[in-house]
Symmetry: C2
């Protein structure tokens, strides 16, 4: 009675790149900036440009700025305009993907806004929208650090923290389109209040504003104790100059307090990532966004926690790397959303 019970298999390749020949406008709206460019099927960006975005501005104003930015991009590349098949837009919050509606953006305080329809009305172009961190992850998986990888967790750390998930070679959105919100995992039960309404979210501990706030406290201590150091000299003792980027630069220059801030953030990041590795067993974690530019000072401590807190099989197979596409990732992913089938 020996029969051949089928053995389940779960092999998958990475995402399929878009077919060549077409172009899309990629637009990436973040918590403090927007960026846009023409994206081709190889993930190259033409005419990339960037504008500051006031977090307090009305979304209609932001869409007008975005439309003007896209016009500029097209005006600089008139010969390619006929190849443009549409606009992909990344938004920093929960996006109802099928309708391109922004449900809630904690760091912009936009709620229930028909972003894709509004931008389509202003530009005369077809617009699709998705979560910005998911699109940055898509870009890294198609053209960057996660090329060819079937199971990827992207973590994008900037003003907030977002994420994207690729499973079995497919971009995974979840039935509500919100999968990947790693920034709102509770880590510190009674920790700082988060703009999402919860407390102690990863975002409150590791995103740019948290690192900047810790940097300002370190600066104040150093000033008070009359201790010189890279953080003080880089910021010229001005608390307003202490950004996450300044903390990273000071840490790279050997500032001990700045290094401790990044190490603490990396530890929290690693605890969250260990949970994710146990839960979804990715082959690769790609950490992107401005804060990721701290590199090993952040990722080293994160890897320690992953090693401590992940089960043996998922631990042995996961790598943790920084993204390769930097600030371009969001625009590239937004363009790719239009050019491919993801």
């Amino acid at each position: 009675m020996r029969a051949s019970a089928r053995r389940p298999t779960a092999n998958a390749a990475g995402l399929r790149p878009p077919a060549a020949g077409r172009l899309a406008l990629g637009l990436d709206i973040g918590g403090s900036h927007m960026a846009a460019g023409l994206v081709d099927a190889s993930g190259r960006v033409h005419g990339w440009r960037r504008r500051a975005l006031d977090a307090a501005c009305h979304p209609d104003r932001a869409m007008e700025t975005a439309a003007a930015l896209l016009d500029e991009v097209l005006a600089a590349h008139p010969e390619q305009a006929s190849q443009v098949v549409g606009v992909g837009m990344g938004l920093p919050g929960m996006v109802e993907v099928t309708g391109g509606r922004l449900v809630f953006a904690p760091n912009l305080r936009w709620t229930d806004y028909p972003a894709a329809d509004r931008l389509a009305g202003l530009t005369g172009l077809a617009v699709v929208a998705d979560n910005d961190a998911r699109l940055a992850t898509l870009a890294e998986a198609l053209f960057g650090a996660a090329r060819g990888c079937s199971d990827v967790l992207g973590v994008i750390i900037g003003t907030g923290i977002g994420g994207g998930i690729i499973l079995d070679g497919r971009l995974f959105r979840g039935p509500g389109g919100t999968a990947g919100e790693i920034g709102h995992l509770t880590l510190d039960l009674d920790g700082p209040a988060c703009r999402c309404g919860n407390r102690g979210c990863l975002e409150t501990l590791v995103a740019g504003p948290a690192i900047a706030a810790a940097g300002r406290a370190a600066l104040a201590r150093a000033v008070q104790e009359d201790r010189p150091g890279p953080l003080r000299s880089l910021c010229e003792d001005d608390p307003a100059a202490v950004t996450a980027a300044a903390v990273s630069a000071a840490a790279a220059a050997g500032d001990q307090a700045a290094r401790e801030i990044l190490a603490r953030a990396g530890t929290w990041l690693g605890i969250a990532l260990a949970g994710c590795c146990n839960l979804i067993n990715p082959r690769l974690v790609v950490v992107g966004g401005g804060v990721a530019e701290a590199g090993e000072l952040l990722l080293g401590p994160a890897r320690c926690e992953i090693a401590r807190r992940t089960m043996s099989v998922p631990r042995a197979m996961v790598d943790v790397v920084t993204g390769e596409l930097g600030a371009m990732a969001g625009v590239i992913g937004a363009g790719a959303l239009v050019l491919g089938d993801y």
Copy 2:
């Protein structure tokens, strides 16, 4: 230049049930018991039976016991033996699914054991193996509380805590076959040591042994303070009689300390589930295993934490329910693994 940029969609139905007409032997090896039965394509179990399993026993002995149990099941149903196409086996740990090898079972201390090959040698039947909690989730998704649902997180709470994930209507294993290990999410950074090597895992706070230990402490306090109550009378003041089931029964009978134990466990469970809802956005969380029989005394507090700690969209769409298949779920899922394509 209006073009029709494709809007991504993410609709999926539930798992497809197995085709009718065949039978499989389902075998569920847990942390303290094994169970087996003949499973048909409708998820019905014929000749279900169960044996205690000594956690300290050698896996070869356990496989011999399992083979004898399967023989008993077949002997009780001789007329159906010719329809049996193989054995599905659930194992309480990380399973290398393609080879049926158990990599590590924390609560049995089995390591790197060729379980499927060994059982196939003993029975002369084809054997496939997978994680026990994943198979229980599969069963609930095919025939139980998650029937027809495309995006499910199963959490099985017994001697340990395991999980299973169904995404976009497909059982998700992850590239290493270990996806779903929700029991090893770190919740309490410096919490109790876990058998996985980490500290403060969900399992150390919410699984049966944690609830029993808290129950024994409550019993000792009640005895010392000479306070009568359901826990004392149910266990006749005997610490050895305090199991998780006894704590649940005492709580159901109104024992305040027992209720607090379950509420605390439910709170931890809810914190972990909130993280999972943010990360993978399930439509349904099914809580199964023996500890789930505590019902609302456990799930009520869990829902509170989910409401506090999950973003609005995933929060609004998720339901948290107990499993419908009870102690049968593991056997049914193991059989279904052979009968269908999952």
